[in-house]
Structures are given as C-alpha cells and as structure tokens.
C-alpha cells in the first residue's frame, strides 16, 4: 500500500435493509430495533426526486424562486426476495403455516425506513438512510430458460419516500471512514435509526 487513494466516484450498491416504523407522527418517530434484509443480491437502485418549482414575481423581476420538495422515488432491483418480506412490505397477508402470500385489492403498505450503501474506490462506503418509505409497486420478470440460463428473474420494487412527520427529514447520508488495510468499511451506522421524541420527553 502506498499513496492515499483519492478516487471518490460511487460504484456498486449493497447492504440493503429496512426497519419497520413503530411511530411516525408530529411528535414522535421510532423504528423497531431489528434491521431486516430486503431481498438478496441487490442489483440496482435509481432515484428520482420530484420537486415543484416556484417563482414569486416582484416589481422589477423575480422576487424569489426555488422549489418545494414533494417526494423521492427509488426503484430497487433485487435477485431474490422472500415472500414473507414481500408481504411485510406490501401490507399483505402471509400465512406462516401454509406459506401462502395473499395480496388484496385494498391492502395498505406500511411505512418503513430503508438503508443501503455504495462503494467508493478508497474502500470507504457512502451510506444512505431513508426515514419514511412506502412500497407503491413491484414487478418481476418472467423469462423462459434459454441457452445459458444465467439471468435471474429480478424483482423491481418501487418505493416512494417522503419527509417524516416529526421534522420533515427525508434521508441522512454519511461516508464511512477509510478502513485499515485488510479490513472492511465500518457500516454499523446503518444498523440503527435514532428515535425522535419531544424535547424533554
């Protein structure tokens, strides 16, 4: 090992997980302590931010301009997802006894908090926490096995993210430290999401 690596471009996508939200109102925000795996083999994640631009005219031009945040859309593809996990994300019924996932027309998907990371070439990781996320749609491929059979039928999950009610926070992003030679980046920051409670509460 010689000089310090300065390359900071993000590559890859991994460490995908989620927490169930136990409280999300004007005064409290909390998640259940256990981080759950969101599928196996995270393949891709694309992000779209929806904002509404505004301009306030003044006497001699534009008095103020900017944009209001509306929501973020994350499209996440995974190689595998357990039916129980899919049921949890959809708010659908999964029967542990019969192992059947039943999706209803009027089911309501719960809010979750979602975390993941991306690699930088200096071996550190950029870590993301989204605080209020809802699965709004999902699709999966269905391809007949042809000559190679090397491709999998991916699940693509569409999530809508918004600001949490207590403070409007949409996401936190943090870079891990560069690990020591032979070590992996410390991504334990993704293992917890701090609760927010009324001051003095």
């Amino acid at each position: 090992m010689s000089e310090t690596v300065k390359r900071k471009a993000l590559k890859g996508f991994a460490d995908l997980g989620f927490f169930l939200i136990s409280k999300n109102d004007k005064e409290n925000y909390a998640v259940t302590p256990e981080k759950l795996a969101l599928g196996v083999g995270a393949r891709s994640c694309t992000r779209d931010e929806t904002r509404e631009e505004y301009q306030i005219p003044g006497d001699d031009g534009i008095y103020a301009m900017g944009s209001d945040y509306k929501f973020t859309t994350l499209n996440v593809s995974v190689n595998e997802i357990e039916l129980e996990t899919l049921g949890t994300l959809l708010g659908a019924d999964y029967d542990n006894a019969t192992k059947v996932l039943r999706e209803l027309a009027n089911q309501t998907a719960p809010e979750i908090a979602m975390v993941f990371s991306m690699l930088r070439m200096d071996q550190s990781k950029r870590m993301f926490k989204y605080f209020a996320v809802t699965l709004t749609n999902y699709t999966h491929d269905g391809k007949a096995l042809l000559d190679t059979g090397n491709e999998v039928n991916q699940y693509t999950l569409t999530f809508q993210c918004k600001g949490r009610d207590v403070d409007g926070a949409v996401r936190d992003t943090k870079d891990s430290e560069i690990p020591a030679p032979g070590q992996m980046a410390d991504i334990s920051w993704l293992d917890t999401i701090e609760a927010v409670a009324p001051s003095g509460g």
């Binding site: 010689s2 690596v5 390359r7 471009a9 890859g12 995270a42 690699l119 070439m121």
Partner: protein
Amino acid sequence: MMAALSTYLEEELGKTVHIDNMPDQPVECSAVFLWNHTVGRMNDGSGTRYIQYRVRSSDYNKAMVEAKRVANLLDSGLDERLIPLPYDGAVIGRVRRMPIVLNRDPKAVTVYTEIAMIGLN
C-alpha cells in the same frame, strides 16, 4: 494489481503463483494472466482487469479443486465483499467463467477460470 493478486493467492494457496508466465517445469504449476484491461468511457482512475487463473497438474481433480477455490476467493458475491488484496483502494471480483479445461496432454491437464477484477488502474 497482478503482483498483489499473485501475493494474495500465494498466501491463500501456499504455493508459487506466476504472473503472465507458465514455466514448462515443474508440471504442478499455477499462474495468473492479464488478458484485457478496460476503463470507462471517461476514465475515473479505476478499471476492470480481466484475468485468467491457470493451474496445471497431473491430476484433473486437483487442478479443478484449486481453480474452483480461486474462483471463490476472488468472487465478491452478492454483497460486494472487497477482495483483500495488498493493493491501494477497493477491489471487487466478478467470476466470468468457472473452471474448464484449457489444455490436456499425456502428462498433465491445464484448467483455467476467468475473473474480472474491478479496481484502481
């Protein structure tokens, strides 16, 4: 990276791993070969090296087992595990070809596996 790769595999396998060269002797022999090195359309300082790990042995099974072990050692898997090479920066390995026979003669068989190694140039 080739030197780092050779060093890492020598430590893991407990044997000499040559670089871009397979000596005629001894028969029992291993080497890593770099056969391509690509970068993105806008070079960000990182690139992908396409390497072959070749192992020659008088025993087909022995060669296959060693090549499979190397394929597993250099596979970052589903969670993008960093390959712990003694080399600057992050290194990710993706197996492109599992072990198959490259060459066979009366005294030995040569098996190879191909891996794409993503890292700094």
